[in-house]
């Protein structure tokens, strides 16, 4: 009987924890993408500073208000500027950041092509 009751509780808990987990996952994903501005080099997710903790609460609130991930990023960008995002968009300040790896990749590819493929 005890065993049955245990099973029943587990079954009842499964959907509940799923819902919570989904929201927590989303919260974690967003906070990992936000920079903790007063502790340099840490994300909000990693940090336990007062600022980061408040930010986590606010992300939860915004999620409950039904804002999408992008809307939340936009909201924080408005408040604190582009720096708060770990994944900055492409604009005139960041184009080098985006194009440099591509450029290096192309140059590297060209060198490999010339040295190893053409020679053979």
């Amino acid at each position: 009987m005890k065993f049955l009751r245990f099973i029943l509780i587990v079954i009842l808990l499964i959907p509940l924890s799923n819902i919570n987990a989904e929201e927590a996952d989303k919260r974690n994903k967003i906070t990992k993408n936000l920079r903790c501005l007063i502790c340099q080099g840490q994300s909000v997710y990693d940090s336990d500073s007062e600022f980061a903790n408040s930010l986590k609460i606010l992300v939860d609130k915004k999620l409950q208000e039904g804002l999408s991930e992008d809307q939340i990023y936009e909201y924080f960008k408005n408040k604190y500027g582009e720096w708060i995002l770990y994944d900055p968009g492409l604009n005139k300040n960041t184009y080098i950041l985006w194009l440099l790896p591509l450029l290096i990749f192309l140059i590297g590819g060209a060198i490999i092509y010339k040295r190893f493929i053409v020679k053979k």
Binding site: L37, Q40, E50, F51, S54, I57, K79, Y80, G81
Partner: protein, 172 residues
């Protein structure tokens, strides 16, 4: 010929990298955002510090008046340092100082004010720190100079005599 080019280019590349990194040492590693002047103040609802009643931001900040919003907390040591300056600004009485009590224990906050004086015209509370984020603040202490519901100037960290002089200039 080829043997000479390689070490030479390696030295040049390292030289350039060294130069860039050396220059980078001089830059401040602490990021301070561009201070957005003329930004509208946020609209929010909160509770009054003394009465505990609900207050609206529109009732606190009127147009045509200059306000100094100060974010403070009793556990914050720099707040203790800047408090005499706030008292000084208050005795000059040209600006309304509004306090935002940040993540504080109300009893401790009251004792803080009893001990050091209360320069604030009104105080509202921010229990979980989310209001401070609405304002774009980083922590305590932080002060905003507000005119016509717009943020004219933002001071991160404790106020000092130099900043007080600057505030006085703005008020005049």
């Amino acid at each position: 010929m080829k043997n000479k080019i390689l070490p030479f280019s390696v030295i040049i590349i390292f030289g350039v990298i060294f130069f860039i990194f050396y220059k980078g040492l001089e830059d401040s590693k602490i990021y301070t955002p561009a201070i957005n002047t003329k930004k509208e103040i946020p609209i929010f609802n909160t509770k009054d510090f003394f009465s505990g009643e609900n207050v609206k931001s529109s009732n606190i900040f009127e147009l045509d008046k200059i306000y100094l919003l100060n974010i403070w907390s009793s556990w914050c040591v720099p707040c203790r340092q800047e408090h005499p300056f706030l008292m000084k600004i208050n005795t000059d009485n040209k600006v309304n100082i509004i306090g935002m009590n940040y993540k504080d224990n109300l009893k401790n906050a009251e004792n803080f004010l009893k001990e050091l004086g209360n320069p604030y015209k009104e105080i509202f509370i921010d229990l979980d720190g989310t209001l401070a984020i609405e304002w774009g603040a980083y922590g305590v202490p932080e002060s905003f100079l507000i005119h016509n519901n717009k943020i004219i100037k933002k001071y991160i960290g404790p106020l000092n005599q130099k900043l007080v002089d600057e505030i006085n200039l703005f008020i005049k």
